[in-house]
């Protein structure tokens, strides 16, 4: 497996986000919510406030660090939900075939036809704004591609010798799926999930903009950016740093995903969006 420069750049950026998230409580100079002194609002970057302060007088640097936690949570949890739904449906559909396959296929087509942002918008409207709702909304949104890939991988793996051997040995369906098939399609699923993390972070920002994201005081990058759009002229730093954070982390996820994909199967890039 040869991993290119893109992969390492992506891995580097992602590691940075992960480190920022994990280490935030130790390396952040302030509390992201409580250390708000309105007397210090909208200060430009200096030696105390590296990225300046926002309209509430909170340290933007601190909030960016804590924001990494939220972005990672959004990215990882939503993609775990996506992958579980997609893999479960896709694998069983491919393995069992028949009416179940038709049903899953039909439902996948339905989900593909509804633009993800609109579906997420609808789910958020039902559940109300906030982190848990967002995780559910994004988790329910993007599984169709994963499902398709899982299904086609299962179909091709099913015909392979060792799976058929396991069948003749009388192994249960579930056992075969989890021990023989699942491990062999982890690669593409992982690629989809990595790329999905990037789009989840972007969706969070878009939903924030539409008033349905994670809402303050959580320092989510999307809501920071949304709040800051009013300040773009008075205090550009309040808008620039969250924007950069989103851009770099999504870039990281995308490069990582691309790199993984290219090393796993260079042809896959023509088959997935």
């Amino acid at each position: 497996m040869r991993l290119g420069f893109n992969f390492w750049l992506g891995a580097g950026l992602t590691t940075l986000v992960i480190l920022a998230g994990i280490l935030a409580p130790w390396i952040a100079p302030f509390d992201p919510v409580l250390d708000a002194d309105l007397m210090n609002s909208e200060l430009p970057p200096d030696s105390t406030f590296w990225f300046g302060t926002d309209g509430q007088g909170r340290d933007v640097y601190t909030r960016i660090l804590y924001g990494a936690q939220i972005s990672l949570t959004v990215g990882i949890v939503s993609q775990v939900i996506n992958s579980i739904i997609g893999v479960t449906l896709g694998m069983t559909a491919g393995y069992w075939g028949g009416w179940w396959d038709d049903l899953v296929n039909g439902f996948t087509n339905v989900m593909l036809a509804i633009p993800p942002l609109i579906f997420a918008l609808a789910v958020m409207a039902v559940l109300g704004p906030g982190l848990p709702s967002l995780l559910i909304a994004l988790g329910l949104t993007n599984w169709s591609w994963t499902c398709r890939i899982a299904r086609s991988s299962t179909l091709s793996l099913k015909s392979l010798g060792y799976v058929q051997a396991a069948q003749t040995l009388g192994y249960g369906d579930l056992r075969i799926m989890f021990t023989q098939i699942l491990p062999n399609m982890m690669g593409p699923i992982l690629v989809m999930a990595t790329l999905g993390m990037g789009s989840a972070v972007l969706s969070e920002a878009a939903l924030s903009f539409l008033g349905l994201g994670i809402q303050p005081p959580f320092p989510s990058w999307g809501s920071m950016l949304t709040d800051a759009r009013q300040l773009i002229q008075l205090a550009p730093w309040v808008a620039i740093f969250p924007g950069l954070a989103i851009f770099l982390s999504v870039l990281g996820f995308n490069l990582l995903g691309d790199g993984l994909r290219d090393s796993l199967d260079p042809h896959m890039r023509t088959r997935t969006p």
Binding site: V33, L34, D35, A36, D37, L38, M39, S41, G55, Q56, G57, A125, G128, P129, G130, G211, L212, Q215, P216, P217, D227, R229, Q230, L231, I232, Q233, L234
Partner: protein, 530 residues
């Protein structure tokens, strides 16, 4: 406080006076912005309760009364004079004889009766029905129990007698955009939604859904010499940042400013001299639910009022685009008490009050909040560290704007942050603390005080405005002391306008709504607009 108000009023009068001195100029196109949403729901404004549609109403339609921003009260619009009966319940209106609808029909009493019946028609379920309900017999008509509204009586074509249910000032309900007058000779009522016909100074020209409404000068408008403008494009611009760019780019002639833009514009040459400010009749507050144990205690509610440094929030976060609230009624209200001080910022006193109430260790409560920047989550974020210092933990409970109303009116909250109408009529504004007003109507904090009720009932009966205001002032102070809410601020609405625009007025009910027929454009406007 009052000084400040008169100053603002004088400033705005200065705008008008300057206009007169310069000499009004006819012609030109005004590009006006409608900032409260990205579409006009309908052009049938009788059916629409949205502020957004008032922009169209103002141009195309006229109601029996209208709001006079300079006198700060409703005045007769479609009638030249009125006579009151002894008991004050029957008004006889002498209608304008020169008022003509855009379809050529002259205004008669029939049109008003027709319109009020249409608004109150139970099959229509129009929001304005509640305003018509002040007319005697309207309740029965709304309920479908009567064929006619008994309080409406045509004397002749230009004389109309209306009997009201009480000694109320009918100007407030009958100046609303949902009570405008339509011509009675339009066969197909469904055309009102696409082709509005009114009495206003401008004729409907075009509606590009989601984009703009274009109106043009009406030649037969009843006010001599009006309007000045040939054309108005009322464009939809809900996004503040986009409006800011468009205004700086001189693509639009007026813009309603948010706090940050207000601060930015104040600091810029060329922009700072063209800001129109007014104290609007909205009170921003956090309402407490007495059903939630800690908030039941008056001392806790007072403690919260003392613990929050409202002036600081207003200065830094709201960028001075508000006046600190010293009670429910706003500065422009006739019953406003200029001598009553707001709650002082005093964390020590707050702690003492909390300890007294048995909450020395503090407690936790949720504030249901929408994303609004002036009365939503950002404000809760700002009070969060302040209340933390006296031991109270606040948790914002974010909801969509559209569900805030439902959460509050179903009493499903510990506290909520909102902006509420608190004027211009003080009697109507204080109805929201009258214990007989339902929680779901507007007594959101389930306020019940026998003392208040006594004062309020007395005010309802009082016919001398000065005495009535005095009673209301006392009632208002009572509310302030009981602190059913955290009194945050009264909105200061700010409108930026291009230097070539003249004739704007400080409308305290809603600054964005301007009398288009008084606006004119001078020759410095870009040539495409002249």
């Amino acid at each position: 406080m009052l000084k400040r108000l008169t100053l603002a009023a004088m400033l705005s009068l200065g705008v008008a006076a300057g206009a007169l001195a310069a000499g009004e100029r006819h012609g030109g196109t005004l590009v006006f912005t409608a900032p409260y949403g990205s579409s006009f729901a309908t052009l049938d404004v009788q059916s629409s309760p949205n502020t957004q549609e008032e922009f169209i109403t103002q141009a195309i339609h006229r109601a029996l009364y209208s709001w006079d921003s300079n006198q700060n009260k409703p005045v007769l619009e479609l009638a030249t004079s009125e006579e009151l009966s002894e008991d004050g319940m029957v008004h006889t209106y002498h209608l304008r004889k020169n008022a003509v609808f855009h379809n050529g029909k002259p205004l008669t009493a029939d049109d008003i009766i027709y319109s009020y019946k249409r608004i109150a028609n139970p099959e229509n379920a129009f929001p304005g029905a509640s305003f018509i309900a002040v007319i005697k017999g309207a309740e029965d008509y709304i309920a479908g129990k009567a064929e006619e509204i008994s309080g409406l009586k045509k004397i002749d074509d230009h004389t109309l007698e209306i009997t009201y249910t009480g000694t109320i000032n009918p100007g407030f309900p009958l100046m609303q955009n949902t009570t405008v007058i339509y011509p009675s000779n339009v066969e197909d009522e469904s055309t009102f939604g696409k082709n509005p016909v009114g009495l206003g100074a401008f004729v409907f020209k075009e509606h590009v859904p989601g984009s703009q409404v274009v109106v043009e000068k009406f030649d037969k408008y009843y006010e001599e010499g009006r309007p000045y403008l040939d054309r108005i494009n009322i464009v939809l611009m809900a996004e503040d940042a986009a409006r800011d760019v468009a205004f700086r780019n001189r693509e639009i002639d007026v813009s309603i400013l948010g706090p940050t833009q207000y601060q930015a514009y104040q600091g810029e040459e060329g922009l700072k001299d063209h800001l129109l400010e007014v104290a609007e009749v909205y009170t921003r507050n956090i309402g407490f639910n007495p059903a939630f144990e800690p908030l039941k205690d008056k001392r806790v509610r007072q403690a919260i009022n003392h613990a929050i440094n409202s002036p600081l929030i207003i200065e830094r976060l709201v960028k001075n685009k508000a006046y600190p609230a010293s009670g429910w009624l706003p500065i422009s209200s006739p019953a406003f008490d200029k001598d009553k001080a707001p709650y002082a910022y005093d964390p020590e006193k707050a702690k003492a009050l909390l300890a007294e109430a048995g909450y020395a260790d503090g407690f936790e409560f949720e504030v249901t909040a929408s994303p609004n920047e002036s009365w939503g989550v950002p404000i809760v974020e700002a009070i969060l560290p302040m209340l933390k210092k006296v031991g109270i933990t606040v948790k914002p409970k974010p909801v969509e704007s559209s569900t805030l109303g439902e959460a509050v009116t179903t009493n499903n909250f510990q506290a909520f942050i909102w902006s509420n109408l608190s004027g211009p009529d003080p009697l109507n504004a204080l109805r929201c603390y009258y214990s007989k007003t339902a929680q779901s109507a507007c007594n959101y904090t389930s306020y019940a005080s026998p003392e208040f009720d006594k004062l309020y009932e007395a005010a309802q009966q009082e016919r001398d405005p000065a005495k009535q205001n005095d009673l209301l002032r006392q009632a208002n102070n009572l509310v302030q002391d009981d602190a059913p809410v955290w009194f945050f601020n009264y909105n200061k609405a700010v409108m930026a306008y291009q230097p070539w625009i003249h004739g704007l007025v400080p409308n305290a009910t809603e600054l964005a709504i301007q009398p288009y027929d008084e606006i004119w454009i001078d020759e410095t406007a870009r040539s495409s607009r002249q």
